[in-house]
């Protein structure tokens, strides 16, 4: 009860209006977004979840039992992880040192533009391009033969490495731009202070820069990992979708569009989501152990 209401009508407490509780006409602006999320995300997800529990044959968990009793199917989890984890880690490992150098560069915008290009091109176009570039008659092999590095074309497509390279190319700009903005956000005075205290470049990185960007790197890892884990076009176009790059999304697509078993495909998609959640959850839990405040040097 508010003091104002007790003076005007002591007998009856004033009704709390919607506005008091944070609802007003502006709140209505949320409706389109909420509707969109419900229609395009929540409903399909719940529908898929439901669908995965009504298999063509077998009980409630029929699809899941089927998936985990077939090595050809559950093996896709490993095959996908084998691609997604190293690619994500490599991208982050490349982004950090390059961003450390680039942050002082004057032509940062030009570089940013060049790096954003692969993102805008999309995975399919990049995969098509790489198919030519990395192929046995492609520039890369021909150049390497020309300068005598190799005497026979090496196989870079229709296998693990083709997909690996394309994932690095499409994933790197994303991790790099995130990393660059994190590193640029660190007050340069912190590193200068560390230098005056006797820290060499290496120590400045390990003791100052890295601890401050670890939480951001964890989030970057999650986003990049989820992206790489759901790889589909490049695995099909550049890889060996029947063999070593038979990724889990490909298995789901096969179930849905070759066997027309939507229920089984939904179950595979759910398993895929659980694996992703597992990794993201674990990484975010570790992130919680680090300092996450602003990377500034003081109140000023």
């Amino acid at each position: 009860m508010t003091p104002a209401s007790s003076t005007t009508s002591p007998a009856r407490p004033r009704r709390r209006t919607l506005a008091d509780r944070g609802f007003d006409s502006v709140t209505l602006l949320l409706v389109p977004a909420a509707l969109f999320v419900i229609v395009v995300f929540v409903y399909p997800f719940l529908f898929g979840l439901f669908l995965s529990f009504v298999p063509k044959e077998g009980g409630l968990f029929g699809n899941y039992i089927r998936f985990f009793s077939d090595p050809y199917m559950y093996g896709t989890i490993w095959l996908t992880l084998r691609l997604a984890l190293p690619v994500t880690l490599l991208n982050i490992a490349l982004s950090v040192p390059i961003a450390m150098q680039v942050r002082h560069l004057r032509r940062q915008r030009l570089l940013t533009t060049i790096l954003v290009l692969p993102i805008t091109l999309g995975t399919v176009l990049v995969a098509e391009g790489l198919l030519n570039y990395l192929g046995p008659q492609g520039w890369l092999n021909r150049t390497m033969i020309l300068i005598g590095l190799i005497d026979r074309p090496i196989r870079l497509i229709q296998n693990y490495w083709g997909v690996f390279i394309s994932l690095v190319i499409t994933g790197f700009p994303f991790t790099f731009l995130l990393t660059l903005s994190m590193i640029s956000g660190i007050d340069p005075a912190l590193e200068q202070a560390a230098a005056t205290l006797g820290a060499r470049a290496r120590n400045r990185f390990w003791h100052i820069v890295l601890p401050l960007i670890i939480p951001g790197l964890a989030v970057t890892f999650c986003l990049a990992f989820v992206d790489a884990f759901s790889v589909f076009p490049s695995a099909v176009l550049l890889g060996a979708p029947a063999g070593e790059t038979r990724v889990i999304s490909f298995a789901a697509a096969q179930a849905a569009f070759e066997q027309y078993d939507y229920s089984y495909a939904s179950a595979i998609a759910m398993i895929m989501a659980v694996v992703q959640f597992g990794f993201v959850g674990a990484v975010l839990a570790v992130r919680g152990l680090f300092y996450k405040g602003p990377a500034g040097g003081g109140k000023g």
């Binding site: 005056t196 006797g198 990377a295 003081g298």
Partner: protein
């Protein structure tokens, strides 16, 4: 107290210069600093004082000249090899380390044993009187406490030279006065040399043994606070040292060091000559506090403003040729009133016109 600065005799800046492209931020700064001295680099913003400090710290390289610590040339050394302590304007505390780890950082980087580090961190925290806050992160401390941590961190490595870049500019007025006394106390305790950058003449006067006035990247005057306050070497420095009244005029009579100057007011102004030769054009300068209403004063003007400052009123006025006057008065005057102002001849400094340009 066992914490003390590493020994050296003198630090010598030899024509230290720094250019940014075509802009000369520092022009041949030469200065010798003795061990134990407190030097203030004083100047308006953009005068090059922070550039000078960064050059000393090794954060900027020199374009020309050299820095010597006794017989060792140090301007070619990297920041981490010089071993100077620096206190940054925004403190630059490591936000992810608690107070103890911040203060001990330099010691760890120098490979000092854990036990010795712990002992010296304790000492440094004692010196800045911050023993009870050691487990906190910088973000949990007040501005004054952060300032103390920054000082403790800089002195824990027992540097021969402590560099401070406007360390008090982010603090409120009361805390600033307190920390001023603290900095002076810590300086005496360490016996190191301190170079302190500031734009605040009060701070420089109260802290420093010697003040270096910088303007446009050049040294304008080096002197004790007393010398600078009483007798700035030229009109430029005088203006910066609080001589707000500045009028151009012509010498009409000389009598030893005393000259009479016609400034276009009611009467000739008598003042002390500072290197005025002959009868040429001059600039006379007077502090507002020394210019007061006097019935026989040489300055006739019209009051344009009045401001109460507790111990007295400070007013502004306009002279016959549009000159701006700043004066002090015990009794308030009303705006538009005509007033005669005068200053003691020994508080009126007369410089050759164009000196210090």
């Amino acid at each position: 107290m066992a914490i003390a600065s590493a020994g050296f005799r003198e630090l010598r800046l030899d024509r230290m210069s720094r250019n940014f492209g075509a802009h000369n931020a520092l022009k041949e700064i030469s200065l010798t600093v003795q061990r134990g001295e407190f030097i203030a680099l004083l100047g308006p913003s953009g005068c090059g004082k922070s550039t000078a400090l960064n050059c000393l710290a090794g954060l900027l390289s020199l374009s020309d000249g050299a820095i010597w610590l006794d017989d060792r040339r140090i301007d070619t050394l990297k920041s981490e090899e010089r071993g100077f302590g620096m206190v940054f304007q925004n403190y630059a505390l490591f936000p992810h380390m608690d107070v103890r780890r911040n203060v001990g950082f330099g010691l760890r980087m120098h490979g000092i044993s854990t036990a010795e580090t712990a002992r010296r961190v304790d000492e440094a925290l004692n010196v800045v009187r911050l023993g009870s806050q050691q487990a906190k992160l910088p973000g949990q401390l007040s501005g004054g406490q952060q300032q103390r941590v920054a000082i403790a961190r800089a002195i824990a490595v027992e540097p021969p030279l402590v560099l401070m870049d406007e360390p008090l500019s982010n603090l409120d007025a009361k805390l600033r006065l307190e920390m001023r006394a603290e900095i002076r106390r810590i300086h005496r305790l360490l016996g190191s040399a301190t170079i302190y950058v500031t734009h605040d003449q009060d701070e420089a006067l109260s802290l420093a043994d010697r003040i270096v006035v910088l303007r446009d990247g050049e040294v304008r005057q080096i002197g004790t606070p007393q010398e600078l306050y009483r007798r700035p070497i030229n009109a430029d420095v005088a203006e910066f040292m609080g001589f707000r009244n500045a009028f151009s005029g012509q010498v009409v009579r000389r009598e030893g060091a005393e000259v009479e100057v016609d400034c276009g007011f009611a009467g000739p102004v008598r003042g002390q000559s500072v290197d005025v030769a002959g009868m040429g054009p001059v600039t006379i300068t007077i502090r507002p506090a020394d210019l007061t209403p006097a019935t026989d004063g040489p300055f006739n003007a019209e009051v344009t403003g009045m401001e109460y400052r507790g111990e007295a009123y400070f007013g502004t006025a306009t002279g016959p040729a549009g000159q701006e006057l700043f004066f002090r008065t015990e009794m308030p005057l009303s705006v538009g009133e005509a007033v005669r102002l005068g200053a003691p001849a020994d508080r009126t400094l007369v410089y050759p016109k164009g000196s210090g340009q």
